[in-house]
Amino acid sequence: MSRSVRGRAALVLLAATLAVATAGCATTVHPWDRDLLAQKRMQLVPSPMLHAVDQHVYFSKEGSTGGDDVGGGGCGCN
């Protein structure tokens, strides 16, 4: 096998791999499938209260806010 043929084969293989890897980007969610996405277990934050407690512990220990999702300065007044 000559070098250029091998190079081309490698390119085709790479393109095919990338195509398969990105094929998932092309799927659309059907309107009738949205119930599954709306389920509680699909949320980014499954339990808002536990998340809030975790965040409170975190910023209390770190001594500053604003690093995560809470806006504000480091006045220590919260």
């Binding site: 081309r8 990338l18 195509a19 092309a26 009738w32």
Partner: protein, 167 residues
């Protein structure tokens, strides 16, 4: 270099093509209604047996709020126009049959209710929103399609049904 360009083009086409191809397949007013045969509350619903009737096909799910609001209206429609030749087919798209049955206890449906948890019929009808309804004439062709539900639209649909059911 040319290989890379080709690979990039292929990628772009692969990413864009499937959704566009699906959008182009939308059913158009005037075309025959897609055929279906689905299990119903009792027996099956076969689209072939609906020929000669004015048919109102409604896709719904238990979790969809406008569907909930549309059911009393569908019931009134059934009571007023069933004798004049209107057949209402409400196709449920819930994955969970129990959720659908719980909904039907709360919102009784005296009309035909079919179940399609896989959503194949919805795909054939190219449902774009929940609920989506299709008014089909006696010749089996789609007369009107409606996405969503609101009472203003409902009045217009009822007028059209009245017109189509007239002898």
């Amino acid at each position: 270099m040319r290989g890379w360009i080709r690979a990039a083009c292929l990628l772009i086409v692969l990413c864009i093509a499937p959704p566009t191809a699906r959008a182009a397949a939308a059913p158009v007013v005037g075309t025959p209604m897609p055929r279906f045969k689905l299990p119903a509350v009792s027996g099956t619903v076969n689209s072939d047996s609906l020929r000669g009737h004015v048919v109102y096909v409604d896709f719904w799910a238990s979790w969809c709020d406008p569907c909930r609001r549309s059911f009393p209206w569908l019931r009134a429609l059934h009571e007023n126009y069933a004798a004049k030749g209107l057949v209402i087919v409400a196709i449920n798209l819930d994955k969970d049959r129990v959720a659908a049955e719980r909904f039907l206890v709360k919102y009784p449906a005296p009309f035909k209710v079919a179940f399609d948890p896989a959503g194949g019929t919805a795909e054939a009808f190219h449902v774009q929103a929940m609920p989506t309804s299709y008014l089909v004439g006696k010749d089996g062709r789609v007369l009107e399609t409606h996405a969503g539900f609101d009472s203003k639209q409902a009045a217009a649909i009822e007028q059209r049904i009245q017109k189509e059911c007239a002898p």
